[in-house]
């Protein structure tokens, strides 16, 4: 068991003919992901890494019975790509890897998302992986190992770091989800935590947050009220000065003092979540929780 993706997930790659799309399609296939189709307007009939390409997402899904999509479309067109995927009922999951999508485009995509039962992970994210089964996105498969720890994070490379610390302690992962570093994202911490809570194969969850926004505070409330699966936390950006954007568009402590690391850490600790000072401490906390 796992959440959102497994052996049976059938993937269509939007933007499969671009450099990134092509490279990561090959990587996904090598990892064992069932990539069944590509979708690129005007490229229908071509093949990439042995995968048939269709002009539309709908055409790809109908022909190849896909149920998930990964978006590698450039930022100017990625909002439209998300709308296209959201318009196909059979897709349960959309993973938007693209970085730099205009915020107003994402606000409209998110508005459309509310009308559907689809999960949208990202944008500006590394994707998600169920070790040993499938990965959708750009995560390096070789650092993950199968196990019973769920992981949800706003940052890609920080996810890799924490996974490395877990692996050092012999703790494998059920599914790892990178939800993305933008101000407006699809799947939130709360939604990801709810999925892990329902997953019998997940016995503990690591949540890696960072400065900016209030998603971590909302997650803390959710954990406090609804979760029985234990959660270990980490918050990046304790030393970030207010008003400066720390790389991610969403990682900024506003002038009025919202989005600080202190606020997030105290909310999580208030919900009984141990917050590690270092990634290795997070892994040690997980060990204690299991």
């Amino acid at each position: 068991m796992s959440v959102l993706v497994d052996d049976d997930t059938r993937v269509v790659v939007q933007g499969i003919t671009g450099g990134e799309g092509r490279f990561h399609t090959e990587q996904m296939i090598e990892y064992g992901t069932n990539v069944v189709a590509g979708a690129v307007p005007g490229k229908g009939g071509e093949e990439v890494a042995g995968v048939p390409v269709y002009d539309t997402v709908e055409g790809a899904v109908e022909a190849e019975d896909a149920d998930a999509s990964v978006v590698f479309v450039p930022p100017a067109f990625a909002g439209d790509a998300c709308f296209e995927a959201l318009g196909v009922d059979d897709l349960d999951l959309i993973v938007a890897i693209t970085e730099g999508i205009p915020t107003q485009d994402m606000a409209r995509v998110n508005r459309r998302l509310q009308e559907t039962d689809t999960y949208l992970v990202g944008p500006n994210c590394p994707g998600l992986i169920t070790p040993g089964e499938a990965k959708l996105g750009i995560l390096p498969g070789n650092i993950f190992s199968a196990g019973n720890v769920g992981l949800v994070s706003r940052s890609g490379t920080l996810t890799y770091q924490v996974v490395d610390n877990l692996t050092q302690r012999g703790l494998g992962q059920s599914t790892a989800i990178g939800i993305g570093g933008d101000p407006i994202i699809g799947t939130s911490f709360v939604e990801a935590l709810a999925l892990f809570e329902q997953d019998p194969a997940t016995d503990a969850v690591v949540m890696c947050g960072e400065i900016g926004g209030e998603d971590e505070e909302e997650a803390a409330e959710y954990i406090d009220e609804y979760m029985t699966t234990p959660v270990a936390g980490f918050i990046a950006g304790r030393t970030a000065p207010p008003g400066k954007r720390m790389g991610h568009a969403g990682a900024i402590v506003s002038g009025s003092g919202t989005g600080t690391a202190e606020s997030k850490i105290s909310a999580l600790e208030g919900a009984g979540v141990p917050v590690g000072d270092t990634p290795d401490e997070v892994a040690a906390n997980v060990e204690d929780l299991l």
């Binding site: 930022p75 100017a76 730099g100 999508i101 205009p102 915020t103 107003q104 485009d105 994402m106 606000a107 409209r108 998110n110 508005r111 459309r112 590394p126 750009i138 995560l139 390096p140 650092i143 994070s153 706003r154 940052s155 890609g156 490379t157 920080l158 996810t159 890799y160 770091q161 490395d164 570093g181 101000p183 407006i184 890696c208 960072e210 400065i211 926004g213 209030e214 998603d215 980490f234 990046a236 950006g237 304790r238 030393t239 970030a240 000065p241 400066k244 954007r245 720390m246 790389g247 991610h248 568009a249 990682a251 506003s254 002038g255 009025s256 003092g257 000072d277 270092t278 990634p279 290795d280």
Partner: protein, 389 residues
């Protein structure tokens, strides 16, 4: 990207929002000339991207030509929080009886735009929001439909704006929202929106920040951006040139890494182990050798830096490329200017370790060890500097 006040006022005025008569001037004579043609009193306002200009002496009122000259002499060339003032906006000073606030921004928690109105204009609105949140009326907008006229009216009534002004203020709010929507605004604000004795409303200040990611489809606004104007320091200008996400801090441990979350974590660990971070530098995903060398050049150019920690967890970034970049950057020195601690993990890390010239750098296996080592080096260097002095 932020527009200057004069640029934002141009945009607002074109859309039909009333603004005071104004002219831009780059010289003292030009400023006096502008004041003469506008008529007194005028406000002489520094055009730099700094909050709280008024308090810092960047806005001066003038009642005649002598005062206008004096004001322009004081402001032009002055240093406002690190920015040199090169232009002033000379503007008709509005005789007001009241100051309002209107604004539009993205509420990230809701994932929706929000339009705001308050009768507490003319002061820092973030402070108002904190002290008295009810003093700001907020109306969330469904991005699929845009702002309905009734929503603008509702926000204005909710804020308690004078009934005689409601129609005009609602109209200005609607225009501001439409501009924000059409021009990919991040924040659009009029603070203060001045009310005159005969119930005219005029935008006395103007803020318009554009979503950087949308500049590709806003060519008119992109043209208004002036090179390097947002960089406070020489180092930040250099970071712009190299295309790095870079923030300078006050410590002495230089930090280079890949991915915002991991770089932030590295900063936090430096602090955790008793050091003090000198910067945030994210080389981004998939950096090649040249980019790595540029990153080292950046951090070496910061005179505060006493030691560097280089932490790469490769996903799409490859350890061998990173190692080549480090060798390339350090190979050109007879003596390494500052000790560099390297930790490589992830994609091609093993290959990278083999390539790295260990005469040039200290290699550590874990993030924690690498940070502690760099903090130690930086502490030693700081001690030596102290003795030298």
């Amino acid at each position: 990207m932020r527009l200057h006040e004069y640029q934002a006022k141009e945009v607002f005025s074109e859309a039909g929002i009333p603004t005071p008569a104004a002219e831009l001037a780059e010289s003292v004579d030009g400023a006096v000339e502008a004041a003469e043609s506008i008529g007194y009193p005028v406000a002489v306002k520094a055009q730099v991207h700094v909050g709280g200009r008024g308090k810092a002496g960047g806005i001066i009122l003038a009642d005649d030509a002598d005062e206008a000259r004096e004001a322009a002499e004081d402001i032009l060339g002055m240093d406002l929080k690190g920015f040199t003032v090169e232009r002033v906006l000379v503007e008709e000073a509005v005789d007001f009886v009241n100051e309002l606030y209107v604004g539009v921004t993205m509420d990230r928690g809701e994932g929706k735009p929000v339009a705001m109105v308050s009768t507490r204009g003319g002061v820092n609105i973030e402070e108002v929001a904190e002290e008295d949140p009810d003093a700001i009326a907020r109306e969330h907008v469904d991005p699929a439909f845009g702002m309905h006229p009734y929503q603008a009216r509702k926000a204005v009534y909710d804020a308690g704006v004078d009934r005689d002004l409601a129609r005009d203020v609602a109209s200005i709010l609607t225009t501001l929202y439409d501009l924000w929507d059409a021009k990919d605004g991040a924040d659009a604000e009029i603070n203060p929106l001045m009310v005159t004795a005969d119930d005219e409303v005029i935008a006395a200040d103007a803020v318009f920040n554009v979503d950087e990611d949308a500049l590709f489809r806003q060519p008119d606004l992109a043209e208004m951006e002036e090179e390097g104007e947002f960089s406070e320091t020489e180092l930040e200008r250099k970071a712009d040139e190299y295309g790095f996400d870079y923030v300078r801090l006050s410590g002495n441990v230089g930090i280079i890494g890949n991915g915002a979350g991991l770089v932030m974590t590295t900063l936090d660990l430096v602090d955790h182990y008793g050091g003090s971070p000198a910067n945030f530098l994210d080389v981004g995903g998939g950096a090649k050798a040249d980019r790595i060398a540029n990153a080292l050049d950046m951090v070496f150019s910061d005179e505060n830096v006493d030691a560097v920690v280089f932490n790469i967890f490769g996903g799409i970034t490859r350890g061998d490329e990173v190692a080549r970049g480090i060798n390339q950057a350090l190979g050109q020195f007879d003596e390494i200017p500052k000790p560099v601690v390297v930790r490589l993990a992830g994609t091609n890390a093993t290959e990278g370790m083999e390539i790295l010239n260990e005469d040039l750098v200290t290699v550590e296996q874990t993030l924690e060890d690498a940070v502690q080592r760099a903090v130690g080096y930086a502490g030693d260097a700081a001690d030596i500097e102290e003795v030298d002095q």
